[in-house]
Amino acid sequence: MPLNIKQLVDYVDKNDWPFTQGHRLCPGCNAPMVAKWATLTAKALGYEPVVGAATGCLEVSTTIYPFTAWNVPYIHNAFENVAATITGAEAAYRSLVNRGKVDNKKVKFIAFAGDGGTYDIGLQALSGAIERGHDFVYVLYDNEGYMNTGNQRSGSTPTGADSTTEPVGKAKAGKLQFKKSIVDIIAGHEGVYAATASTSEPMDFMKKMEKALEFEGPAFIAVLAPCVRFWRIPESSGPEMTKLAVETKYWPLWEYFMGEYKVTKKPRNFKPVSDYVTKLGRFNKLLKRDDSAEVIEEMQKYVNAKWDRLLALEEISKDKPLRTKI
């Protein structure tokens, strides 16, 4: 049974937030929503989360010494290595439980990282950790750029978005590549639970988080989580934008488990991707260019194809797991 809002409210009222007030992320930032939902899901289900974080906005702003917004054990090591760090802790836990030095208390290891620490500099450590089959949940808050350091492009930055290391200029429409399909990369490890989620759908995210926690192996959830500042959108509008991302096929909601694909949200009618692009200030410079229509058309073709592909994958993989164990 997935958690419901009543259970969550009651849990916090009777206990506490696992991730607390006083963090210094920007007003309206979507990263703390993700951290809050993930840790709360774990706690409300009776797990004891031990958290790791990659260097990034969430890490920097929640642990300015001597303050910490974490009400659960937490470790940050460096930018590119949260997967290695948290799986080191997981190995320690297995060893210490095995040796009777630590009581088994339903400890679960959760790593948080942004897109820089996941798609780019942290990909190797993440791939290694998943391939080794550690029992941990990796939660990516994807704001599509190095927002901690001022909007540099990442492997997740979409085509045509303005960034400081690949700006939209007179000669070039900014980044020309589309973003990596990170969940497909993770799914390529096969023995894994992987999913996309969006800040517009907290209950969907929490349901996926629950599956991820239940699975005694590597799990990965990519949450589209706007940086209101560098997406150039109103502070209050993060979830509204990610809702549009889902409704335009820009960010379909789906999951993968051991070889089987499942689309978890199938809107009856889709909006054109231009509805999404025109809402985000990060595309303003693109929209002023003569070639913006072409860029958006390319994007539309891509998201259409991607959607069709997902449905096809769902169809052909149904009840045909690749693996029965990690």
């Binding site: 642990t63 009400n71 090591n77 290595n81 799986t87 320690a92 791939s127």
Partner: protein, 389 residues
Amino acid sequence: MPNKLAVTGAKAVAIAMKQINPDVVAAYPITPQTPIVQYYADFVADGLVDTVMVPVESEHSAMSAVVGSAAAGARTMTATAANGLALMTEIVYIAASYRLPVVMPIVNRALSGPINIHCDHSDAMLVRDSGWLQLFCEDHQEAYDMTLIATKISEKDDVLLPTMVNLDGFITSHGVDIFEPLDDGIVKDFVGKWEPKYPLLNIEKPVTLGSLDLFDYYYEHHMQQEAAMKKAYELLPEVFEEFEKISGRKYDFLDLYKMEDAEYVMVVLNSTASTAKYVVDELRDKGIKAGLLKPWVFTPFPKKEIKEALNGKKAVVVLDRAMSFGKEAPLYSLVKSALYDAEQKPKMGSYIYGLGGRDVTTHQLHDAFEDAINDKLELNEQKYLGLRD
């Protein structure tokens, strides 16, 4: 029960690790450290240890997993060499700053480039300022002993700093030599148990480790690391004494060979010291008062002991198996600095040798001594042994 074994240095280290039986070993293979990891993997596969081994995908992840594991509260070890150490260097600093008492054998190998797999000390010198203790080992016995000693000193409450145990690539790691391991039970008692103070796995007392430490605290935390290093310096003699009690083998900051009446002294690290002792004896046979000083402890650097040992000597030659391009060689500069306020300063000469595994012969060591004996030392000029010129 003396039980001598003729094995490689890598195996001697692996045996020490087996007897310590750490909770977690996370490692990545690299020549010439590989056999250590392989032997340990065998021990795990055969159930001789119940360590959880994490075969990571890079040295960077090895040290990262080590930090996660040690922070969780597990006794954790790894091992590496050269480029592997260079790759993990970022996290090597972090491990020390988090005060995690990790032990890491380093099988010393030349840093690229160009790539070379043989012995020199450029890897150890790369991380000399990282906040780890650095012990150096002449042979198999010392590599084994120092691995145990490292565990003990690192985990002292007032120290809590990680330690590297340096042994020479191939020469020690792959050469077969004789050493005497201690009984399992004696090792177990000697290393004891580690009770971590702030383990992540203490769910009742959640801690935050790895905060953003800005201008208002970072400096203070670094001062704590410096104080811990001083504490390690204070406590090392105690640990050496304890080790002597269980093994009969006496260690100190410095291995002093025929130093009491020596006039001409060679200072050198690791396996070359063996050959140098032989050369000292050859010179002694000719009536020349030669001596050898080999630091067992490089960090914390035993400045006072070195000054005391070298004050009043006629001449000192310092041999470095690493270059510090454009600056004085690392060991030489430290020894020279230690003698700054000596009452009777010896003449000094700096010699580079053995880079990238260049064979170190007795003739080369004689050449350096000859310069000392014939008053041909240049304080500020670096010379090169075994170089084609």
